[in-house]
Symmetry: C2
Subunit: 123 residues, 2 copies
């Protein structure tokens, strides 16, 4: 644990959310279009930091879906729509880094950088 961390920085008092609640939550873009839903997270083994919320996108009746990793920081929560919002055009999302259900990539630095670059945030 990072003992140097100021205890007041620790998320508390309703600022923690259960992963069970996040999983399945819908994701919209700023045009209020429904993009997909959060399927699972990619968590740093040592840090315990959620690096990516992996969104399930597309598919039909559970088939053909793809996973789009979203850096945790590109997500904001919209109480109005009861879902997350990410500022990306639906068409642009199609070209974002993604993979099939059983094709999880290595998540190395190059991959991480490609994801962050695509969403316009610094790695």
């Amino acid at each position: 644990m990072n003992t140097a961390q100021n205890a007041t920085e620790r998320d508390e008092t309703g600022n923690l959310i259960s992963s069970s609640k996040v999983e399945g939550t819908k994701v919209y873009n700023t045009a209020r279009e429904h993009l997909g839903s959060i399927h699972h997270f990619m968590v740093g083994k040592r840090s315990g930091k959620v690096e990516y919320a992996v969104m399930s996108f597309g598919g039909f009746l559970g088939m053909g879906e793809s996973y789009h990793p979203l850096p945790w920081d590109v997500l904001s929560y919209d109480t109005d729509q009861n879902g997350y919002v990410v500022d990306i055009d639906k068409d642009r999302l199609k070209g974002a880094p993604h993979y099939g259900v059983n094709e999880e990539p290595a998540y190395d630095r190059a991959y991480g950088r490609s994801v962050y670059d695509y969403y316009g945030i610094s790695y």
Copy 2:
């Protein structure tokens, strides 16, 4: 995102794990006794930090189980047993902070402190 964070500190190259893999993973103590399994996480909404891995303990046929929040830092992974290890006596675990399936507490500072104190780490 914490732009001051050194990119080399970021977990990478196999150091990320899918939450789908963690959920359901067995938890043992140092005496190799099976304690329970990870059910879900409590994640800081702003930080994206997993503050607790919530372990499902006890119960039978899906009934009567309780949730024991384990600070992320008390868990280590044992490749031998293919599970997590937490250094706590089975009897002592029974008295650790826990709650029933639909009784999630507020996770305020007092609660967090009580959990960290119980596991002997500084909050």
